[in-house]
């Protein structure tokens, strides 16, 4: 972003990578897939790079409103400093927080999730998609809570997956009834409370019952939880967990 600013230019869109997308080895692959798609369609985009910080979601959901607002206001200062108008995020948590909770703190932007951007690119004819290696395979989509119920985005990821000419199989608990992966509300960063089952095991069991080739999702935290779940059942050979962006990038050899 700083480079664009130095040249006195502004990008079409800011790609908010997110902490998982920047640091988590598995999630970095999602980040790269998104970047390949953006480069493929020739979209002028920027990232904040080392100027990006956590949007504050885990602090807020954990009840630390002070830390959240500190993070948020710092981020808003940076974003407003670059006069950012439009943001795409690789994570539903960043998406939700920046879209819904930043405006009241002085940061108003047009924010979309990467599955929405991919859908827009396909609909606008800028990205043509074929099924490639996934053609005819069975894929199920796990709704990230902060994309689905929290913001009502159910169709964009599904429409993108269907473009791959695959069999989209729905779990019984999907869309508004989607069952959480277990990572939200800052659970990702703490030990689970005492229970008789892990949430991600319950959810992955439901997904694996469909015997899909791929469990698709659109969230780096769901990615971690579902991947662990698949490992729990020793099904890594039969079923892969992939982000929608990775599906598109891989099927089209981007």
């Amino acid at each position: 972003m700083a480079d664009y600013a130095a040249r006195g230019e502004s990008p079409e869109i800011l790609f908010w990578v997110g902490c998982a997308g920047s640091f988590d080895d598995r999630a970095k692959k999602i980040t790269k897939a998104i970047v390949r798609i953006l480069n493929h369609v020739g979209m002028k985009f920027a990232v904040l790079g080392t100027e990006e910080t956590c949007n504050g979601d885990p602090a807020k959901r954990a009840g630390n409103e002070f830390l959240f607002q500190m993070q948020a206001m710092n981020a808003i200062t940076v974003l407003n400093g670059y006069a950012v108008k439009k943001i795409v995020t690789g994570c539903p948590h960043c998406f939700n927080t920046i879209k819904n909770e930043y405006p009241a703190l002085g940061g108003t932007y047009e924010v979309i999730h990467h599955t929405q951007l991919i859908q827009q690119l396909i609909d606008a004819g800028k990205l043509s998609v074929k099924g490639g290696a996934f053609q005819g395979k069975k894929i199920t989509f796990h709704d990230p809570c902060y994309l689905g119920r929290a913001n009502g985005v159910y169709e964009a990821p599904r429409e993108v997956i269907e473009k791959l000419d695959v069999e989209l199989a729905e779990m019984k608990r999907s869309k508004a009834k989607g069952f959480c992966c277990g990572a939200g509300g800052a659970q990702m960063f703490k030990d689970a409370e005492k229970g008789n089952k892990e949430v991600n095991v319950e959810r992955t069991e439901e997904a694996l019952a469909l015997e899909p080739a791929v469990i698709a999702t659109g969230c780096p935290f769901c990615m971690t939880m579902m991947t662990d779940g698949v490992k729990h059942f020793n099904k890594e050979q039969q079923t892969r967990v992939m982000d929608v962006a990775e599906l598109i990038a891989q099927a089209n050899e981007l």
Partner: protein
């Protein structure tokens, strides 16, 4: 005007008075919560109330209870038209006052009988679901004790009320057939006509006693039920409407930004910032320890909850054996609020009882099990928001008590120091771009 009419008028006035007194107490209790503005977008609010409360749109996701509930709901609302007639009869001493409507009256009475039959059918199935089929969300330990009795009492009362209506109509039919002076020929009775033969051999006097007893039972039952609502989960039949009207219309993922925190953070970042003076009154806590720290909508939610348990049956924490139950969060909130209300009744104003919603009712283990997935909020047929209470109580734990689980404290520290929830250097943020 006979003795019966005077008795009836006294009963009606007494029941109405008692109801108003108790509703005012509930209103006072709800207004113990702090203020929140839910008056924006009035047209969307009316629309939501029409769809969700009046139209019961969120019930449809579970079709069997939805149909049975529609029977009971429509029956309850429409049979009350007949209750209006019973009030007029009760005051004036008339019999079937509205019978001057002629054919339309016959249709109405027939229609009400069919509805009453469907209400009875619905309630019987509901009782079976709770006590014989033992559906999971109804046998949960959340409902042990009074809540389970409350549910069975409501259903049994409704069945008895409807039965009284049928027996009254059956006796009335016999009296009409006998050409008794007071019992003018009126009404059409598709259901109770099956009962009428059972009253065939009875004396006029016996029939009149049965008819009167059932009439009084029904009317006392209705007035008693009205007052029972206030202390029961059944209050939802009235509160569902305002509760849905004042729903949160923002995206479910949007949590409130605490204004008191915004002031402090702004002051920290910009020393010249002077926050608007805090409103007078008791200084607010960060987050919620007790019911007075919640807002009035959260307290209205608690009174509206009818303990159906859809929230809990969709909760990922609860479904994997954790202690958290969103339904219990709502029930605890109401129980504590009623306790606070009784405290105020007794002492004139709230006298510290060394108890609070957190600790005496809700534990940290419950609060920390939540994934904030919004399944409970999505499921609630009357737009109750248990998640907002959970988050407000977490805010109290973290910001007032510094009592977050160890993993979260580490995450907070990382975020403060490195701007990320994990221990990575901010300088490495763009490393992915250099990898393959």
């Amino acid at each position: 005007m006979g003795l019966q009419n005077i008795l009836f008028i006294l009963l009606l006035l007494g029941a109405t008075f008692l109801f108003i007194v108790n509703v005012r107490k509930v209103r006072r209790n709800i207004l113990l919560g702090h203020d929140i503005d839910r008056t924006d977008k009035p047209s969307e609010r009316w629309k939501t109330m029409t769809l969700v409360a009046l139209g019961q749109s969120k019930m449809l996701t579970r079709p069997i209870p939805a149909i049975l509930h529609i029977f009971v709901y429509v029956g309850f609302v429409l049979i009350n038209i007949e209750v209006v007639e019973m009030f007029i009869d009760g005051v004036t001493g008339s019999h079937r006052f509205l019978s001057f409507l002629g054919g339309f009256y016959n249709f109405l009475i027939a229609f009400f009988e069919v509805l009453a039959f469907l209400v009875t059918f619905g309630c019987v199935i509901f009782l079976l679901r709770r006590n014989v089929i033992r559906i999971k969300r109804f046998i949960s330990k959340d409902l042990d004790g009074w809540p389970r009795t409350d549910a069975n009492l409501i259903l049994t009362t409704e069945i008895l009320l409807m039965s009284a209506l049928f027996i009254m109509n059956a006796a009335d039919q016999r009296l009409q057939a006998m050409g008794m002076h007071h019992y003018i020929k009126a009404g059409s009775f598709p259901v109770s006509s099956f009962l009428a033969p059972a009253f065939g051999g009875m004396q006029v006097g016996t029939l009149i006693v049965i008819e009167r007893l059932c009439w009084w039972f029904h009317i006392i039952g209705i007035l008693g039920f009205l007052n029972y609502l206030v202390i029961s989960k059944h209050f939802h039949i009235l509160l569902a409407f305002p509760n849905v009207f004042y729903s949160n219309l923002n995206p479910k993922g949007q949590f409130s930004n605490l204004a008191s925190v915004t002031n402090e953070v702004k002051a920290m970042m910009d020393p010249s910032f002077i926050p608007a003076p805090a409103p007078a009154g008791h200084p607010q806590r960060f987050g919620a320890k007790d019911v007075m720290d919640l807002n009035w909508k959260q307290l209205l939610d608690a009174y509206t909850c009818t303990e159906c348990g859809r929230c809990t049956s969709a909760c990922p924490a609860n479904q994997t054996g954790k202690l958290l139950s969103p339904r219990k969060i709502m029930m605890d909130t109401r129980d504590r609020l009623e306790e606070v209300g009784e405290n105020i009744d007794k002492n004139g104003s709230f006298k510290d009882d060394e108890k609070s919603l957190f600790g005496n009712y809700i534990t940290a283990e419950e609060l920390w099990a939540c994934t904030s997935c919004n399944a409970c909020v999505q499921e609630c047929p009357v737009n109750i928001d248990p998640l907002s209470i959970i988050i407000d109580m977490r805010r109290y734990l973290v910001m007032e008590q510094s009592a977050a689980p160890a993993g979260l404290n580490l995450m907070f520290t990382n975020m403060e120091n490195n701007g990320a929830p994990w221990q990575f250097s901010p300088a490495d943020r763009l490393n992915w771009a250099k990898e393959n």
